[in-house]
Amino acid sequence: MPFKVEGDAIQRSLTGQPGDPTEGRRIVISRQTGLCLLCHSGPFPDERFQGTLAPSLAGAGTRWTLGQLRLRLVDGRRLNPDTIMPSYYVLDGVVRVAPSFAAKTILNAAQIEDVVAFLSTLRD
């Protein structure tokens, strides 16, 4: 799905639809799909294992617009070239990818939209 970066954001939904925040929450806490809690913590009292490599996701929806959250997920390198956060929706610049993940983005367009929708509900 093509997308257009304007400044620090991608304004248009990758699917043309708003995402589903319930599904987005499931992706964020999942160790197989989102992997977010490997690095981040957040307002997830039931999740015992959370990371300390990155800022808490609490309040992300207050700090950032939908468009900013979308670019952060799609390709955080545009915001910080040295970021350790994976680019969830671009393929370029990665090497030696395991065959089972080759030529696949970490999340698909619908999943990105679900996560964006969920993050925007995280208000302090």
């Binding site: 490997l38 990371g51 490599l53 350790i84 994976p86 610049g93 990818v97 395991a98 993940f101 970490i106």
Partner: protein
């Protein structure tokens, strides 16, 4: 004066590139990141599951093998004397092989050339047992990788691989083990990634395993295609990790979660 200033700039730029490398005084074995129970399991030989493997290795050390019916002991004698400190020097350049080899490969060279016996497969019970037995003789000894021009290329390659991003998640070993050790990845403490305990018993595996098996686990976590056992990439990474841990005490057979 001018030369001094130029040198200063040069040094600064070198420091900038490797700013994240762990200072010698800050290095900590994986042992220090474990819970008390796991530590106790390692230090008490009667509860350390790796010691069974060491005992197996001791029996293999004495057992005549191959066409010439020679045992390791026939040539090397008392391992506690003759193998002391040896594992702490590997990987090392080997004149017979004409390349850098790790301890397992060195043992296999003896199998092939000196015992006329078939080589043992990577991660096979017997190779792990012999490696653990030999490495046990270095317990407490400081890692002592030789400063050898013949291994300089491998060392350079290992350092490069350690710092290079790879896999779908686009992470490098250094991001976790140099820049974020002590942090929590999910619920797990990130250790500094030192090789001083191998082969070791990992509770998650419920088995002994080599350093290369551990590295494969990390690469799978990065969603990278792991290097194959015995590949020059893995030997280079092992060499770099040992050099990075130079002077740290050997612990094999260690226990890790």
């Amino acid at each position: 004066m001018k030369i001094g200033a130029a040198l200063c700039v040069l040094l600064l730029s070198v420091i900038a590139v490797h700013a994240a490398e762990i200072a010698t005084a800050d290095r900590k074995s994986g042992f220090e990141f474990m819970g008390r129970d796991t530590q106790a399991m390692q230090t008490d030989d009667t509860s350390n599951p790796g010691m069974l493997n060491v005992l197996d290795g001791g029996a293999l050390w004495e057992r005549p093998e191959g066409a010439d019916k020679k045992a390791c002991a026939s040539c090397h004698g008392d391992a506690s004397q003759r193998m002391k400190g040896v594992a702490a020097r590997y990987p090392a350049f080997d004149a017979t092989a004409g390349q850098v080899v790790d301890l397992g490969q060195r043992i296999n060279l003896c199998r092939r050339d000196h015992q006329k016996a078939p080589e043992l497969a990577y991660e096979s019970r017997d190779l792990l047992a012999l490696s653990a037995f030999v490495a046990r003789q270095s317990r407490g000894q400081p890692i002592a990788i030789a400063d050898d021009a013949r291994s300089a290329n491998a060392l350079m390659q290992g350092r490069k691989l350690f710092n290079e991003r790879m896999g779908q998640l686009n992470l490098s070993c250094a991001i976790c083990h140099d820049d974020n050790w002590g942090q929590k990845l999910g619920g797990t403490s990130i250790p500094q990634g030192h090789p001083n305990g191998y082969p070791l018993y990992r509770l998650e595996w419920q088995a002994m395993g080599s350093l290369q098996r551990r590295l494969r686990n990390c690469m799978i976590g990065m969603r990278a295609e792991p290097f194959s056992y015995g590949s020059s990439e893995f030997i280079a990474l092992e060499l770099f990790l040992m050099q990075r841990a130079q002077g740290m005490a050997m612990e094999s057979p260690a226990v890790r979660p």
